[in-house]
C-alpha cells in the first residue's frame, strides 16, 4: 500500500497527454453499424502507428511492452483527453488479445496480435447459446474432428458486433462423452468461413450491437484451437477473468465522465422562473454525492485490481467484485439521470436524448458477461469459500 512514483511513469504520462491532445478524433463517433466499425478501426490504426497500441502487450507482436501501470496511465489520460470509447474493439483488445498472449501458440500470436493492434480487424465472442446462458458449461454447439479440421454445427447468441467482426473466440464441444467442462475447446473462427451466418438482434435501446450466429458444417483448421483440444473451459475462464478485472478500466473511466457531465448539467440554472439549479435541492445533491463517492470507490477498486495484476498474471475471482459494483453503479447512475431530467428525458431527440439511450443500454451490464446473480454466486463460493448447493433436493 504505497504511492508508485517513478520518473519514467511521469515521463510516460506527459508524452501520452501531449500526443492524445493532438490526436484524439474530434468528429462524432457513429453510434452503430459499419460506419462505427470503420471509425473505431481508423482510430486504432492511428494509435498503432504512433506506438500507443497494446501498451502492456509484448513488443514482439507490435505492443509497447510496458506494464499494467502504463496501461492505467494511458486510460486515465485517454479519458482526460476525451478519447472515444473502446467500443467495437473491446473484445479484440480486452478479451481475445490478452487470452492469446497467455494461452495462444507462437503461430497464433504472430498471426493475430499484430492484426488486432494495427486496427485491421474486429473480434467477437461466441460463448453463450440459446440454451446455455448462465450455465455456460452446458453449451451444445458441436465441433466434430475430421482430419486436420473441426466441423462446427450449432448456434451462438449475444455475440456483440458479430455482424461486423472478422474473427470470433468460439467455444465448441469437442468431446460429448467427457464431463461438461472437460469436453470444450476454444477455437478461433474466421467469420467469413462458408456456413457461418449472422442474424443481428435489436436491443431494448434500439441499437443493434449483438447477434445470433449459426454454424452449418463450418470447417475450421485444427491449428485454430487455442490452449489445446478440450481445454477450452480453462482458456475461457482466463478470458472472463480479464473481462471482470482490469480489462474494464476504460468503461469505468467513461462512467466517471458520465457522472461529471451529470453534475455539470445539474449545476446549470434550470430554465424557469427563479433560475434554480437542480443541485441546490438537498435530495438531488445527496443522490449525486452518493454517486460521486461510489465512482471514486470504483476507481479505487480498479487500482486494487491493478495491484493484484502486478502480482499475478491471471486475474482471480475477486474481479467479480469490481464488475458487480460497476454494473450496479452504472444502472443506478443512469436511473438518477433520468429522474433528474424528467419530464424532458422523455424526448429522445432533444439534448437529453443521450441520457435516455445510456439508461436503456445500462441494463446490459448486470446481464452480459455473467449476470450479477452468477457473480454473487462466484464471490460467495470462490472469494468467501461458501459451499455450493447440494443438488437434487
Amino acid at each position: 500500500m504505497h504511492v508508485i512514483a517513478l520518473p519514467e511513469l511521469d515521463a510516460f504520462r506527459a508524452e501520452a497527454r501531449d500526443w492524445l491532445a493532438r490526436n484524439v478524433p474530434r468528429s462524432p463517433r457513429p453510434p452503430e453499424g459499419e460506419a462505427m466499425r470503420e471509425f473505431d478501426l481508423a482510430w486504432q490504426r492511428t494509435q498503432f502507428e504512433a506506438g500507443w497500441a497494446g501498451i502492456a502487450w509484448p513488443k514482439a507482436y507490435g505492443g509497447r511492452g510496458a506494464s499494467l501501470l502504463e496501461q492505467l496511465i494511458w486510460y486515465e489520460e485517454y479519458a482526460r483527453a476525451g478519447g472515444p470509447p473502446l467500443g467495437s474493439l473491446f473484445v479484440a483488445l480486452s478479451h481475445a488479445g490478452p487470452t492469446l498472449i497467455i494461452k495462444g501458440s507462437e503461430e497464433q500470436k504472430a498471426e493475430h496480435l499484430p492484426k488486432i493492434l494495427r486496427g485491421d480487424v474486429l473480434w467477437c465472442q461466441g460463448f453463450s447459446e440459446p440454451g446455455a446462458g448462465s450455465d455456460l458449461a452446458s453449451l451444445r454447439t458441436h465441433a466434430e474432428l475430421d482430419g486436420d479440421h473441426l466441423v462446427v454445427n450449432g448456434s451462438k447468441i449475444w455475440t456483440s458486433y458479430g455482424h461486423l467482426a472478422r474473427y470470433q473466440e468460439l467455444l465448441a464441444r469437442t468431446d460429448r462423452e467427457a464431463p461438461a467442462r472437460h469436453g470444450i475447446s476454444w477455437v478461433i473462427c474466421d467469420m467469413k468461413t462458408p456456413g457461418v451466418s449472422v442474424r443481428p438482434i435489436k436491443a431494448m435501446s434500439g441499437l443493434t450491437h449483438f447477434c445470433q450466429v449459426f454454424y452449418d458444417n463450418v470447417r475450421i483448421p485444427l491449428a485454430n484451437v487455442v490452449g489445446g483440444l478440450n481445454n477450452g473451459w480453462q482458456v475461457a475462464m482466463t478470458t472472463l477473468g480479464f473481462e471482470r478485472g482490469a480489462g474494464t478500466i476504460s468503461h469505468q473511466i467513461e462512467l466517471a465522465r458520465a457522472l461529471d457531465a451529470l453534475i455539470d448539467a445539474a449545476s446549470r440554472p434550470a430554465s424557469g422562473a427563479n433560475n434554480r439549479r437542480l443541485i441546490d435541492d438537498d435530495h438531488v445533491a445527496a443522490k449525486l454525492a452518493q454517486l460521486k463517492a461510489e465512482v471514486s470507490a470504483l476507481r479505487s477498486l480498479t487500482a486494487l485490481s491493478i495491484s493484484r495484476g502486478l502480482r499475478e498474471a491471471v486475474p482471480g475471482a475477486e474481479g467479480n467484485i469490481v464488475a458487480l459494483y460497476f454494473a450496479d453503479l452504472t444502472k443506478r447512475l443512469h436511473a438518477v439521470a433520468l429522474d433528474l431530467f424528467a419530464p424532458h428525458a422523455l424526448s429522445r431527440s432533444g439534448p437529453l436524448g443521450d441520457w435516455t439511450l445510456h439508461y436503456l443500454e445500462a441494463f446490459k451490464w448486470s446481464i452480459g458477461g455473467g449476470t450479477s446473480e452468477i457473480r454473487r454466486n462466484t464471490i460467495g463460493e470462490r472469494v468467501l469459500g461458501l459451499p455450493k448447493p447440494k443438488v437434487g433436493r
Binding site: 496511465i73 438537498d282 463517492a293 470507490a297 487500482a303 502486478l310 460467495g380 455450493k388 447440494k390 433436493r393
Partner: protein, 319 residues
C-alpha cells in the same frame, strides 16, 4: 496518482505485530461488563505504546517509526476488527495533531501514555459529548477540513446506544488547538476503523453461514444467504479500496473528495454489513448472547462522530 493498494512486506509485519497484541482483546470480552468503557484497553495501554502504535507516523528524530499514514490506517482497521475502544485511535491521531501543531510537549505526553485522548461527538462545544475517554483529558473533534484538540472536564453520564461506550457531557477547560486540514486525516482514520468492522462482520457471517445447517445443508449454500454475504464482501472491499486510496492521497495533495468518499462508504459498509450479519445469524443474531450486536452498535458510534451530512455532500461535490 498511481498506487499499489496491497500491503508491502513491511506493512504486513507491522500489521502482524499489532494483530498479535490485539489477540488479548477478543470481541467476546465485551460480554463482561468489567470490560466496558475501554477497561481492557486501558490496562494494556503500555503494550500499545511499546509496539510504537502512538508514534508510527512521527519522524524518527521525534521518537517515531518514520512511517506513513497508510500504516496508521492499516492499524486502525485492526482496531476496528477487535472493536477496540475509540480512545486508542483518538490518541494515535492526537499525537500526530500535537506534533503537527508544534506542541512537542503534548505529543510526548500522549506518546508515552501519560496523557490520553478521545473523540468528541461534535466540534460544537454546546453539543459535544465525550466518547469513552475514561482516562483522557483531551478530546479531538472536527468540522469540514479542520480539527480541534481541546482539554475538557467530564460532566453527566449519558446512556449510549453502544452500552460498552462511556458517553458523557463535557465542558471545555483551558486551551483549544486548531489544525487546518487535519479533519481529513481523522475522517480517513475513522473510515479505516469502520472498514475493520465491515470486514469482521463479513467474516463472522460467512463462518456462520458455512457451519449452520438447515434443510440438510449449510445455509450459505442457499443463494439468498450466499448473495447477502457476497454483498457484504463487495461493500467491505469498496470501502477498503477507497479508504486506502484516500490515505495515500492525503500525503500527496489529496483533496476533500477522496476523504469524504472513504468516510461515506466505510460508514455504509460497516452499518449495512453489521445489520446483514444480525440477519444471517437468525434468532441467535437477535440475542445478547451473540456478538453481532456489538459490531452494529459500535458502527453507529463511529458513524456519528462529528457527523454532518450537508458538509460531507459539499465535500464530495466540491461546493
Amino acid at each position: 496518482m498511481i498506487v499499489d493498494l496491497l500491503p508491502t512486506e513491511e506493512q504486513t509485519l507491522i500489521g502482524d505485530s499489532v494483530a498479535g497484541l490485539l489477540q488479548k482483546l477478543p470481541v467476546e470480552r465485551l460480554r463482561d461488563q468489567a470490560n466496558f468503557y475501554g477497561a481492557a484497553e486501558a490496562a494494556m495501554w503500555d503494550g500499545f505504546r511499546a509496539i510504537g502504535l502512538f508514534s508510527l507516523s512521527l519522524p524518527e528524530d521525534a521518537g517515531g517509526a518514520g512511517l506513513g499514514f497508510a500504516e496508521e490506517c492499516l492499524c486502525a482497521r485492526l482496531l476496528g476488527n477487535a472493536l477496540t475502544s475509540p480512545d486508542v485511535l483518538a490518541t494515535m491521531l492526537a499525537v500526530r495533531f500535537a506534533f503537527g501543531t508544534g506542541d512537542a510537549k503534548l505529543a510526548a505526553a500522549l506518546q508515552s501514555g501519560e496523557t490520553r485522548a478521545c473523540f468528541a461527538s461534535a466540534d460544537d462545544v454546546e453539543r459535544a459529548q465525550i466518547v469513552d475517554g475514561r482516562q483522557a483529558s483531551y478530546a479531538l473533534s472536527w468540522r469540514r477540513a479542520d480539527a480541534s484538540l481541546w482539554r475538557f472536564e467530564p460532566g453527566a453520564v449519558q446512556h449510549c446506544l453502544d452500552e460498552t461506550i462511556l458517553l458523557r457531557n463535557a465542558t471545555p477547560s483551558g486551551k483549544r488547538a486548531n489544525a487546518e486540514g487535519f479533519a481529513l486525516r481523522a475522517r480517513i482514520a475513522v473510515a479505516a476503523y469502520l472498514v475493520g468492522v465491515a470486514e469482521a462482520v463479513r467474516d463472522m457471517a460467512v463462518a456462520y453461514a458455512g457451519a449452520r445447517e438447515q434443510f440438510g445443508q449449510p445455509i450459505g449454500a442457499f443463494q439468498a444467504v450466499k448473495h447477502a454475504c457476497a454483498d457484504m464482501a463487495v461493500r467491505a472491499e469498496a470501502a477498503m479500496a477507497q479508504t486506502w486510496f484516500a490515505a495515500l492521497a492525503l500525503d500527496h495533495g489529496g483533496g476533500e473528495e477522496d476523504a469524504a468518499a472513504a468516510q461515506v462508504l466505510a460508514i455504509q459498509a460497516a452499518l449495512e454489513n453489521a445489520r446483514a450479519n444480525v440477519q444471517v445469524h437468525g434468532g441467535m443474531g437477535f440475542t445478547y448472547e451473540c456478538d453481532a450486536h456489538f459490531y452494529l452498535k459500535r458502527a453507529h458510534v463511529f458513524a456519528a462522530l462529528n457527523a454532518n451530512d450537508a458538509v460531507v455532500r459539499a465535500m464530495l461535490l466540491n461546493r
